[in-house]
């Protein structure tokens, strides 16, 4: 007897009780679909984050005040720790970034791997209004003309502001597409050339920024960028900088540039590696951190899904055991008319594998289908490896959980099996 014969017997077994077979397959189906979807979601999140971070440029650095453990993450200031003693007995606490810091970084020759430096202020809660509409901005950025180049920002309509505008304290503003739509309706281009008010101060819209998309639920296009001088004059005041944006010569020079920036600021702030009151982050380091987080997330989601696949497999075993009990007489008859152990094992094993394979195939279809639905701003990316692994795992589950019932069927003695009622 060959494998084709076993397949035919097994197929009859699957077909004989369609509802039960379908319900058994459902367990495997859900398991496989869950693996594909959850791994897909993890992948999609990872790709979305990578894309967003890449759009910031791979050769940019950002200096923020405080350390990653205090102000960087929690927004707290280290005001009392390690005060540096300045010359002449004056106590200086340079825990904030100043325009002078930015200027020191852009001094020619000071940091050879740094090609551009832009001081940034970001006042929070700025409300923009135009005619009868007002809108609270997601973010307001004031910086120098060089910022646009560092942040990889371009204007899709109108013009960018220039160094002249910054020097002249010109009240001009670049508007992100989301903010433009919110204020002017339509595609927002009607706002170009119009005067809007930011916290009551009149600014002229000279350009619409190119769309950047959103990161998860956060819309990157709900923002405005204006000259540093004008923002300091009217919105933020002449206090600390929110951050300093720095561009390195190229992606390979990011490490060297970071070291130079840290050295210059350490010298100015009289700090060292341990007592630093600022943090330099590069988009490359953020990218690798984000990738490691999303990678862990993907593995975790996959593991959870694998458990449901395992449960599906136990369902297959359960049903196969019921089937073996229910068909004890049939097994006896088959043995009486000449089936040996191997043939009985094959029949029930193939039946279990068929259930798992059909469930697995349906699960692949469902999983891939579900991945096409966009959720929370990004689409799940189907990982071909996860499809292969999930399907292979379903097959293995059928094989593994089919062996016990099949062996039990085969070890029945024919006279006892025939006598079974």
């Amino acid at each position: 007897m060959n494998i084709g014969e076993s397949l035919r017997f097994a197929w009859r077994g699957v077909n004989a009780n369609k509802v039960r077979s379908a319900l058994t397959m459902l367990g495997v189906l859900i398991g496989v679909a869950a693996v594909i979807v959850l791994v897909g979601v993890g992948n999609g999140a990872s790709q979305s984050v990578t894309q967003t971070l890449s759009s910031l440029g791979t050769n940019t650095l950002t200096v923020t005040p405080g350390t990653a453990t205090s102000s960087g993450l929690l927004g707290l200031r280290r005001s009392t720790e390690t005060p540096a003693v300045g010359t002449g007995g004056t106590l200086i606490r340079p825990e904030t970034l100043t325009a002078a810091d930015a200027a020191a970084l852009s001094t020619p020759g000071a940091a050879p791997d740094v090609t551009a430096v832009a001081p940034v202020v970001s006042p929070a809660g700025v409300v923009a209004s135009y005619s009868d509409t007002s809108h609270q901005l997601g973010s307001m950025t004031g910086s120098t003309a060089g910022y646009l180049g560092i942040a990889n920002d371009t204007v899709s309509q109108g013009r960018a502001y220039t160094a002249t505008d910054v020097a002249a304290h010109a009240r001009v503003v670049l508007v992100g597409p989301t903010a433009a739509k919110a204020l002017a309706g339509g595609d927002g281009s009607a706002l170009l050339g119009q005067e809007i008010r930011l916290n009551g101060v009149t600014f002229t819209v000279i350009g619409i920024l190119t769309e950047k998309g959103s990161v998860g639920a956060r819309d990157q296009d709900d923002r405005m960028i204006a000259p540093l001088s004008a923002v300091q004059d009217h919105l933020a005041g002449y206090g600390d900088l929110t951050s300093i944006a720095i561009q390195a010569a190229d992606a390979d020079a990011v490490g060297a540039a970071q070291a130079q920036v840290e050295a210059i600021l350490d010298a100015r702030h009289r700090t060292g590696a341990a007592s630093r009151d600022f943090t330099v982050t590069s988009s490359a380091s953020m990218l690798s951190a984000a990738n490691s987080i999303t990678g862990t997330l993907t593995v975790m989601l996959g593991a959870i899904a694998a458990i449901s696949l395992l449960v599906g497999g136990i369902g297959v075993m359960n049903i196969m055991l019921v089937t073996v009990t229910e068909r004890t007489r049939e097994i006896g008859v088959r043995k009486a008319i000449g089936a040996d152990r191997t043939e009985i094992i094959m029949q029930f094993l193939v039946e279990a594998i068929l259930l798992a394979v059909f469930g697995g195939l349906a699960g692949v279809l469902l999983g891939v289908g579900l991945c096409q639905i966009p959720v929370a701003g990004f689409r799940a990316e189907v990982d071909p490896a996860s499809v292969g692994i999930a399907f292979g795992f379903a097959l293995a589950v059928g094989l593994f959980f089919g062996i016990y019932p099949a062996t039990r069927a085969a070890s029945l003695r024919p006279i006892e099996a025939l006598r079974y009622e």
Partner: protein, 248 residues
């Protein structure tokens, strides 16, 4: 019948014991039996007489505790599980009291089953199964499942299944036990026809009506053969044979 021809069944000192010590039961207690090729033997006895145990041993479904059993010249006791399965497949055709057809499976597929396990190619398997079903008068019901057939028809399907592999021995266990009188007659006519063709039949029964059809009747009691009556010569037709009756 020539003396050199191997008997289909040759049993010597057959014993089957269950349990041990005080509760030991000798289901078969020293049976010697030779069944020649072409004979039609009925084994009779009340329940507990050991006839079912005999049936299981003769059908290679159970291994005796002691004694020799040559089936068509092969010593069955020394065979492995796999070889026993093969022997059952090639040499024995079973007819059970409760038919034991595979449910939800067509008559044709049921009859093909022994051939499938024997590795017969599909086209030949189909041809031989159709022939066997035609022989038992069910040519028009090839695609019926057991649930769509009457008891008598189901038993005829199981007879077709038993003879399709051309076994040397047809072994029937209470073949009419679950049938009404009309179906019983049909089945017994079929058996007569098969015996008249020269096939070897062993029928286990407790009904005198069934035994009357056999050429030789054995009575068992307490695990021993109590009486052995020959009603017709081995190479003659069975006593109640009505030529042509089986095709009804």
């Amino acid at each position: 019948m020539s003396a050199t021809e191997t008997p289909v069944i040759a049993v010597e000192g057959l014993r089957q014991t269950y349990g041990s010590g005080e509760t030991q039961v000798h289901a078969v207690d020293g049976v010697d039996l030779v069944v020649e090729r072409g004979d039609y033997v009925a084994i009779m006895g009340a329940s507990g007489s050991g006839k079912s145990t005999m049936m299981n041993i003769l059908g290679c479904l159970d291994t005796p505790t002691a004694g020799r059993y040559l089936l068509d010249g092969t010593d069955v006791r020394t065979l492995s599980d796999r070889e026993q399965a093969r022997i059952r497949n090639r040499k024995i055709g079973f007819v059970f009291q409760h038919f034991n057809l595979i449910a939800r499976t067509s008559a044709l597929a049921n009859v093909e089953l022994p051939l499938a396990y024997a590795g017969v190619p599909r086209s030949e398997r189909r041809r031989r199964a159709v022939d066997a079903l035609t022989l038992v008068g069910l040519a028009g019901r090839l695609d019926h499942t057991p649930a769509q057939l009457s008891g008598g028809q189901q038993q005829r399907v199981s007879i077709a299944r038993a003879i399709v592999g051309e076994p040397v021995l047809l072994l029937a266990d209470e073949p009419t036990g679950a049938l009404d009188s009309r179906s019983t007659d049909e089945v017994l006519d079929l058996f007569d026809g098969l015996a008249a063709e020269g096939r070897t039949l062993v029928v286990i029964t407790h009904e005198d009506e069934v035994a009357e059809h056999a050429k030789r009747v054995l009575r068992m009691r307490d695990g021993r053969i109590e009486a052995d009556v020959r009603r017709a010569p081995v190479d003659a037709a069975p006593p109640r044979w009505r030529p042509g009756a089986e095709a009804s």
